[in-house]
């Protein structure tokens, strides 16, 4: 077996199917999108090459930048919420009663499809007979908010289900990372007289750091290209108040029939995600990874 696997030709042969697949469904479309971004194309007939016109228009498009700002806000909120997830995971990992059950409960939203979640929260936010406003009314609030119709509220109203949707996923990742830390380290620290907070801060956190870095990238990039709940719940409205980059791209391409411009947005979004990933990797880079065992 070792002999076979050291044969470079065999390795190449095994890699080939996956390589073909990823080329066909990921890299080639990316290159094509980049090309379409340089054209004016309504999706029918042949594209007209216009050079960097779309990108120039994009840089001046205030609707795009406001959607980019919304996506950035979502990224910031997602990244900050990771702190809460980490705390929850630490509690769950510290052998409390029912930890298993809680972990499963937290994971449920992750198992639902986005559209089902959107429908659920549409009902919660319903301005007259939604549960949220009913509860507020029972507390005597007179002018209950119009969650999804008020341009000042809608973005935050939509962030909540988005964060809720992925909470279980991150908690599960953190839980697994924390469970991976050898119990002997914790016991040793206890013998040395460290309290729970010190153990969490000085031992668990540094050892889970690699995983935390990955989740930050996942959360930020996932937020920047977020689409589903926004599309179903508000379709970017009212008047673009909850528009994000991906939903704006969709609208330009499929509603305004401007596939060239839509492709330019898509390609730009890819660049933004790459840059964001690079920045996060730079910021969180440590010289050497800590290893206690």
């Amino acid at each position: 077996m070792d002999k076979v696997m050291s044969n470079k030709k065999i390795i190449a042969l095994y890699v080939l199917p996956a390589l073909l697949l990823i080329l066909a469904v990921v890299y080639i479309p990316i290159i094509l999108t980049g090309y379409y971004g340089l054209t004016e194309w309504n999706g029918i007939g042949s594209p007209d090459f216009v050079g960097f016109e779309n990108y120039a228009a994009l840089l001046k498009d205030s609707a795009f930048w406001s959607s980019a700002w919304h996506a950035l806000l979502l990224a910031i909120f997602s990244a900050l919420s990771l702190i809460i997830y980490l705390a929850v995971a630490m509690v769950l990992a510290s052998k409390i009663k029912g930890a298993n059950l809680f972990r499963k409960i937290y994971l449920i939203p992750m198992l639902l499809s986005s559209v089902a979640i959107a429908q659920l929260w549409l009902r919660i936010y319903h301005p007259t007979n939604g549960i949220l406003n009913s509860v507020l009314e029972s507390f005597g609030v007179e002018n209950t908010p119009e969650w999804l119709a008020d341009p000042n509220l809608v973005l935050f109203a939509i962030f909540i289900p988005i964060l809720w949707q992925y909470a279980g996923f991150y908690i599960l990742i953190y839980y697994a990372a924390l469970k991976n830390i050898p119990a002997s380290l914790e016991e040793a620290a206890k013998i040395d007289g460290a309290n729970a907070l010190q153990i969490a801060w000085k031992i668990k956190l540094p050892l889970a750091m690699e995983v935390i870095k990955v989740t930050i990238v996942l959360a930020v990039v996932g937020s920047l290209k977020y689409f589903d709940l926004i599309y179903v719940m508000t379709n970017g409205g009212p008047n673009g108040a909850s528009e994000v980059m991906a939903s704006y791209m969709y609208k330009e391409a499929f509603k305004s029939y401007d596939f060239g411009y839509g492709s330019a947005i898509g390609f730009f979004l890819l660049l933004i995600c790459l840059v964001a990933t690079w920045i996060i990797r730079k910021l969180t880079a440590t010289k050497d990874t800590i290893q206690y065992s």
Binding site: A12, L19, Y125, P127, P151, F254, D258
Partner: protein, 442 residues
């Protein structure tokens, strides 16, 4: 060294595979075409038909489609009609994607004017004028096929014809001693009375935006007149016309007067409709395609269906509009793909479908077809007959603005409608944005 060599080799190999793959597919497609060609001379023919009446959402229409198809297949045993059914929005998206890869179904559903323009310009739809001069000659209601005409040719045959009345809940009106408003001032009094009594006057789901557009269009029609509105939409006049700006102001005045259900800008049309059906809102401005829900749909309580009435959008004092002027127009029509390999069969099917649809949609689904119907011969709900009569004496029918405009301008119009209702846009900026978008000509 190894790396470079192998990477190059691999890339070449993968390219070769990809090309070979395409080649194979191409070969198959050709084979298929050859078979289809042979089929026309008597063997099996398959006509692909894509439509947007899923069983769950449009039960009545879905039943008729299936009925017509099975009848057609019985009469023409060599033809198989293969259906693909999608929901409205998904239908539009799929049509777009299919057209980009030149794989439109043989027969499909399209909207008029602005929607079908790129398809016509891209030579994807085939003219159906030969059908119009054949058996179907003179069968269509005047003004319906014109909406599908471009450059002197007709590219689709209309199925439905709609106008938009204001439906109202008679029970609620009775409870507060309200009369049907004839003038806009009376209408405002009705709105105020309802609002003061804690009933939402109007159900509106403006997340979908075209719903709010109906309100603006009617106000514009009644204040500035049908002619001005039509010209502004075509780009021959400006939206800064005093009457059109006043219409936008009236929209905001209605919003200020709490005329619409709470949170209307975040509600979909379906959600708004359920507010009306549940009796939470008293009025609902919507197309005649909703008629089956007020007449024959057994899923909606009989008590409610009996209490639905309609009135014509009231006239505004000093306005140039006429009470018999409507917003509406043909709904969807059937097109035949230019690249269809079974074009003749497809056209025959369309002709059959349109004829049968006209006969069956009236009784079966309770929608108003684009072909002429003799209502006296069939027993129909009163609401249907009344609206049908109104339609026949309409002085003018203005096609929905978002259907008339080109895609990009329509998108601006819809966004501006939502901001106007949400007070994020002033009547003046509303007008200017429209002019700019229509001028851009996209």
């Amino acid at each position: 060294m190894f790396k470079k060599k192998w990477t190059t080799l691999l890339l070449t190999a993968s390219l070769a595979f990809a090309v070979a793959g395409c080649g194979n597919n191409g070969g198959n497609a050709n084979e298929g075409a050859a078979n289809d060609g042979a089929n026309e001379s008597g063997n099996k023919v398959t006509v692909n038909f894509m439509h947007l009446w899923p069983e769950g959402v449009s039960a009545g229409q879905n039943k008729i489609v299936n009925q017509i198809i099975s009848d057609y297949q019985n009469e023409n045993p060599n033809v198989t009609i293969k259906q693909e059914v999608l929901d409205n929005e998904q239908y539009k998206n799929k049509l777009k994607v299919l057209s980009a890869s030149n794989q439109l179904p043989d027969v499909g559903v399209t909207w008029a004017a602005g929607f079908m323009q790129p398809y016509v310009e891209g030579n994807l739809f085939t003219p159906v004028d030969d059908l119009l001069s054949g058996e179907l000659n003179g069968k269509f209601v005047a003004g319906t096929t014109e909406a599908y005409a471009m450059n002197g040719k007709t590219y689709a045959l209309p199925l439905e014809f709609n106008i938009a009345p204001v439906y109202y809940n008679k029970a609620i009106f009775e409870k507060f001693n309200l009369e049907i408003p004839q003038t806009y001032d009376q209408f405002k009094t009705v709105v105020k009375t309802l609002s003061d009594n804690g009933v939402a006057p109007i159900a509106l789901g403006n997340k979908d935006r075209w719903t709010g557009s109906l309100w603006y269009m009617y106000l514009a029609d009644r204040i500035a007149g049908q002619d001005t509105l039509a010209k502004a939409i075509k780009g021959e006049a400006s939206f800064t016309d005093a009457g059109l700006v006043q219409a936008a102001q009236e929209v905001q005045a209605l919003v200020d007067g709490n005329a619409f259900v709470k949170g209307f800008n975040g509600l979909s049309n379906e959600e708004a409709k359920s507010e009306f059906i549940n009796g939470n809102a008293a009025m609902y401005l919507m197309g005649t395609w909703e008629l089956p829900n007020w007449t024959t749909n057994e899923d909606i309580p009989q008590e409610f269906r009996d209490s639905v009435g309609f009135f014509k959008f009231p006239t505004v004092d000093g306005g140039k509009g006429n009470i018999d002027s409507w917003v509406g127009g043909p709904g969807v029509g059937l097109f035949v793909s230019e690249n269809s390999k079974v074009k003749d069969e497809a056209k025959k099917f369309v002709e059959y479908f349109v004829t049968k649809w006209g006969e069956q949609s009236v009784t079966g689904a309770g929608v108003i077809p684009a072909t002429k119907v003799d209502t006296s011969a069939i027993e129909l709900p009163q609401l249907y007959i009344d609206l049908f009569t109104e339609m026949n004496k309409a002085s003018s029918i203005t096609l929905f603005a978002d259907v008339q405009m080109k895609a990009d301008a329509a998108e601006t119009h819809l966004n501006q409608i939502q901001s106007l209702f949400g007070k994020a846009s002033t009547p003046d900026s509303f007008a200017k944005e429209h002019d700019a978008a229509i001028k851009a000509g996209k």
